[in-house]
């Protein structure tokens, strides 16, 4: 409370903030899309009658239109958010027409001489009236101190929220100030260690919350909501731009409920203990730690319609696992990034790629691409294009698969772009249809060997 004692002579706004007594509890609810609800419970000292309460220690990015102050036995007259900031230029501007003290310092002797001056104008330079003479402040470059008597009422160091209330009686009472603020957001970060020998993964999940709101939240009870109620703003924010997703990660959505807390259709992740969310801080708290979940490793290659290549292209390396209670992670997975690691020959974990996941219900099957395989490649070749009648085309595609690994692999070859009634008239092995426009073959490629897949398509144009 040293600040309050020192500021005994300060202007009203320091007094007002110091008047709020020490009891204060913060509750912060953070949503995914750069939005948080702050509930600030504190005891305030309200006098009888009309008065202005100031709250200087709210989020610097507060959305003032969302502020609600609730307390017993007060009536709210108005809420104000003042953002006229105290700068030397403003100070001088507001002093136009008023008296200031100027102190001239003799550069040779250091002797000070004081005079009263009236500020006439501040346009480009400061024009002063001293006695009956007009001067431009520091026109000769010599030192002149300007001393003001007081800070104008509306100027502050920080934007400040104030509420004008009428108290029915004086005394300390509980109050809750709640508001929405951007600048706080969270996501999940997962660490998955894949063991090639047993085909199992260990997964740790961390919630990562970050605060760039310009303020710190001391000792706050923190709740994270997996969801973004801010429909309008959620996709527009910087960093939220996501180009077209190249491949779906969710293979089958789950249907298990689990026992996480819910709010409507959102899942809630409360932090176990109160924590301080400092400004410009990224904080991570663990929420998931499972071991030995079976995971499958496979290869996938997707070819666009009529795509042909002079060089062999690496196939995608794909890992799939379940988020279900049985042989899975057994939890809902909030959206975030899953980073895969694998141990090298010395036993040190090495990073092998990452993939973004969306909010994933429990019981889902996820299939995540971590990168490309160095040794497993496919060269797609359009071997023949033939006009068979006015609108019908025959297209022969050959997929040359190669495997430089010392073990057999199976590559899922996907041919997309089979629009309309495109038919496969001949193929070297049977295909499945993932959808009307995508055919799928599982091609076995022997160790250190090659394989070839051919298909003949008939399409209309």
């Amino acid at each position: 409370m040293r600040a309050a004692v020192f500021c005994a002579g300060c202007s009203l706004w320091f007094l007002a903030s110091a008047a709020a007594t020490a009891e204060r509890t913060l509750a912060v609810t953070i949503y995914n899309g750069d939005l948080a609800l702050v509930q600030d419970r504190r005891d305030i000292d309200v006098k009888d009658g009309r008065q202005r309460l100031e709250f200087p220690d709210v989020s610097a990015q507060i959305r003032p239109e969302t502020v609600t102050l609730t307390a017993t036995d007060i009536a709210i007259v108005e809420q104000n958010f003042d953002f006229d900031l105290l700068t030397p230029a403003k100070l001088m501007e507001k002093a136009v027409g008023q008296e200031v003290t100027i102190v001239r310092v003799n550069p040779a002797t250091g002797v000070e001489s004081r005079e009263q001056a009236q500020v006439l104008a501040t346009n480009g330079g400061v024009v002063l009236k001293i006695g009956q003479r007009i001067e431009v402040l520091r026109d000769d470059g010599l030192p002149v101190r300007v001393i003001f008597d007081k800070v104008p009422d509306n100027l502050r160091a920080r934007p400040t929220l104030s509420v004008t209330v009428v108290g029915t009686h004086s005394g300390v009472r509980h109050a809750t100030l709640s508001y929405l603020t951007p600048g706080l957001s969270w996501k999940a970060d997962y660490v998955a260690l894949f063991d090639e020998g047993s085909g199992k993964i260990d997964v740790q999940g961390w919630v990562t919350l970050s605060n760039s709101s310009g303020s710190s939240y001391e000792n706050a009870q923190t709740l994270l909501v997996a969801g973004s109620p801010d429909e309008a703003g959620s996709d527009a924010g910087p960093g939220n731009y996501r180009p077209v997703r190249p491949r779906p990660t969710l293979q089958s959505p789950g249907t298990e409920s689990g026992n996480r807390e819910r709010l409507g259709d959102y899942y809630l992740y409360p932090l176990a203990e109160r924590t301080t969310i400092a400004n410009l801080q990224t904080k991570q708290v663990s929420f998931l730690d499972v071991h030995g979940v079976p995971a499958e490793h496979g290869y996938e290659f997707q070819n666009r319609w009529l795509a042909t290549s002079d060089s062999a292209l690496s196939v995608r390396s794909v890992y799939s696992f379940s988020s279900g209670a049985h042989a899975g992670l057994g939890d809902q997975l909030p959206a975030g990034i899953l980073r895969f690691y694998m141990r090298d020959k010395r036993g040190d974990p090495q990073f092998i790629g990452e993939s973004r996941i969306d909010h994933t219900p429990m019981g889902s099957t996820l299939s995540l691409a971590t990168g490309d395989a160095f040794d497993v490649k496919v060269k797609p070749i359009v071997a023949k294009r033939k006009h068979i009648s006015t609108f019908d085309w025959q297209t022969d595609v050959r997929y040359e698969l190669s495997n430089a690994l010392p073990r057999d692999v199976v590559v899922k070859v996907l041919q997309s772009g089979l629009w309309g009634d495109t038919r496969i008239t001949a193929e070297s092995q049977e295909s499945g249809r993932r959808s009307a426009d995508t055919a799928e073959w599982a091609v076995k490629v022997p160790a250190n060997g090659t394989a070839s897949l051919t298909a003949s398509f008939e399409s209309r144009y």
Binding site: R2, A3, A4, C10, S17, A18, R24, D57, L86, T87, A89, M92, P107, G110, N123, V126, R138, D139, P143, R145, F148, D149, K150, V151, L155, R156, A157, D189, V191, W206, S212, S216, E218, A278, L280, Q281, T282, Q284, S286, S309, S314, S317, I337, M342, D344, D348, Q350, F351, I352, G371, D372, A373, F374, D375, K377, K386, H387, R398, S402, A404
Partner: protein, 519 residues
């Protein structure tokens, strides 16, 4: 955090309950460098190292019983804090924090807002200093307003030398800091591992091939060139590089608040003798300086010619679907440094020189130079048969015993048994000309037939092999030709031999229906 404005709250005190412990500097470091995920071929650019690294540090920590805030100093500047993993603590980690608020003049001012500070004024004549108690009222908008017993003033608007002297306190560090809140049942000393991903690294393979005098074989050598643009160095580190593309999600790094400088902006200070400002010249000077520095930075690491025979080479191992190359001995990955370690050396690799040209069915061209390339296979029979990571390649030829540069190009990731092609640029000695000899239309199906003549001339004293790849209209077919028709990658191709100082001609006929798309 004690540095925040916390007038009248208890939070300042409660945050200090956790003991502040700094982990010891790393006793062991491992750095694994990954390439820029978007680069398929080519070398690195020291100005834009878009790859990243996995850094694992082994550190010793001394923890008291109870709660402590364990700080890690000296981590890479480009750390992606959300990827940090701490292992080895028996009771686990309650939370991990990364604070981007760093100590700066602006942070000092902001923290001192509404708190007692000392204003220090120095007499220019006598050197005497006067210290006056003051309170900072505002640091908004780059100006500083303060109060002393005399009244309210603005910093450095008087022309007098004046500054603030702050009280010690606050725990801001010089760099963004990584810390973990840990709880320990008993006091302990423990070896822990901190690993994290960090930006500002990259690597590529830089190959140099030297052709033999008869151009039938070459020697191939390569360096792993890795670079670190972080200010942080990693002394005596176990160093690895990983080849193969790994998926990265495009994530913004957390903001890093350097703080604005204290400008001490004042009220308007125009005078009756205002003259045009002279800043313009200064700005131009600094611009040209920064350009100079950029060009210096762009100078790629020189392709070192291989002279030494016994080189320390990196050791390859399989990491899932990736290739990991281990630098055989510990090395220092210093801050803002690029480093080269030998990747491979292979001698007497049989190569064939091929000339190549694309002849498009829709264009007539008088005469253009064919491309020259070297071709070999990445297998044991060709003295290769090892994964070749992507990068750049410089091909040299011997002239009077001196290797001279022929051409520079790029290499993509090549697995074992893949065909390897190295470009040698255009050859003006081998010229190709294309002429439409005849175009005929058959109605009613609008079937077009076209006769093409391709003339190849060779000014070299040796016979050459040329591959002419035919770019056809969609659905078009070569129906007749005076040379055997082959194909490569689904594209029709003719292979011709042209005698030394001679020429050859190819005529072919193609047929198509009236379509305009070219495949």
């Amino acid at each position: 955090m004690a540095m925040s404005i916390c007038a009248g709250s208890i939070a300042c005190a409660s945050a200090a309950t956790a003991a502040d412990i700094a982990a010891e500097p790393p006793v062991d470091v491992a750095v694994t460098v990954y390439r820029a995920p978007t680069r398929v071929h080519g070398s690195i650019d020291l100005n834009h190292l878009n790859g990243f690294a996995l850094v694992s540090e082994t550190r010793l920590v001394h923890l008291p019983a109870g709660e402590s805030r364990l700080r890690f100093e000296g981590v890479a500047d480009g750390i992606e804090a959300q990827s940090a993993i701490i292992t080895g603590l028996p009771d686990g980690v309650m939370e991990k924090n990364r604070d981007a608020k760093v100590l700066s003049p602006a942070a000092l001012l902001a923290a001192a807002l509404a708190k007692p500070v000392e204003l220090v004024r120095t007499n220019r004549k006598t050197g005497q200093t006067v210290r006056v108690p003051a309170t900072i009222l505002s640091d908004a908008g780059g100006g500083v307003v303060f109060r002393t017993a005399a009244g309210i003033e603005a910093l450095r608007c008087s022309g007098l030398p004046e500054s603030f002297s702050f009280e010690p306190g606050g725990n801001l560090s010089a760099r963004p800091s990584l810390s973990a809140l840990v709880r320990s049942r008993a006091a302990l000393t423990q070896r822990i591992t901190l690993s994290y991903l960090s930006r500002g690294f990259d690597w590529a393979a830089d190959y140099s091939a030297t052709l033999s005098a008869d151009e039938r074989s070459m020697d191939l050598g390569a360096w792993v060139t890795l670079a670190n643009s972080n200010g942080t160095g990693f002394p005596s580190a176990n160093t690895q590089v990983v080849a193969g593309r790994v998926n990265r999600e495009n994530e913004a790094v957390e903001p890093f608040d350097l703080g604005d400088p204290i400008l001490a902006l004042c009220w308007p200070r125009g005078s009756t003798s205002d003259s045009p400002p002279s800043e313009l010249r200064v700005a131009q000077d600094s611009a040209s300086f920064s350009m100079k520095r950029t060009t210096m930075m762009m100078a790629a690491p020189a392709i070192a010619q291989l002279t030494a025979t016994a080189q320390h080479k990196v050791v390859e191992e399989q990491l899932g679907d990736l290739k990991l190359y281990r630098v055989p001995e510990r090395t220092t990955v210093a801050g803002r440094q690029s480093k080269q370690v030998r990747l491979l050396d292979r001698a007497d690799i049989p190569v064939t020189t091929i000339y190549s040209a694309v002849v498009a069915a829709n264009e007539q061209r008088t005469s253009f130079a064919a491309e020259r390339l070297l071709r070999t296979i990445n297998d044991a029979a060709h003295h290769l048969g090892l994964p070749l990571p992507s990068g750049s390649i410089a091909v040299f030829a011997r002239h009077d015993g001196q290797p001279l540069l022929l051409h520079e190009s790029t290499v993509r990731d090549l697995a074992v048994n893949e065909e390897v092609e190295m470009q040698l640029g255009l050859s003006t000695d081998v010229q190709v000309a294309i002429t439409h000899e005849n175009v005929g239309v058959t109605l009613p199906a609008v079937t077009r037939e076209q006769v093409e003549r391709v003339q190849i001339s060779n000014a070299r004293p040796v016979p050459i092999q040329i591959e002419l790849r035919v770019a056809l209209y969609d659905g078009a077919q070569v129906i007749r030709a005076d040379h055997p028709l082959g194909s490569k990658n689904g594209q029709p191709m003719f292979r011709l031999e042209v005698p030394p100082e001679g020429s050859a001609a190819l005529r072919y006929q193609l047929q198509y229906q009236n379509q305009t798309t070219i495949r």
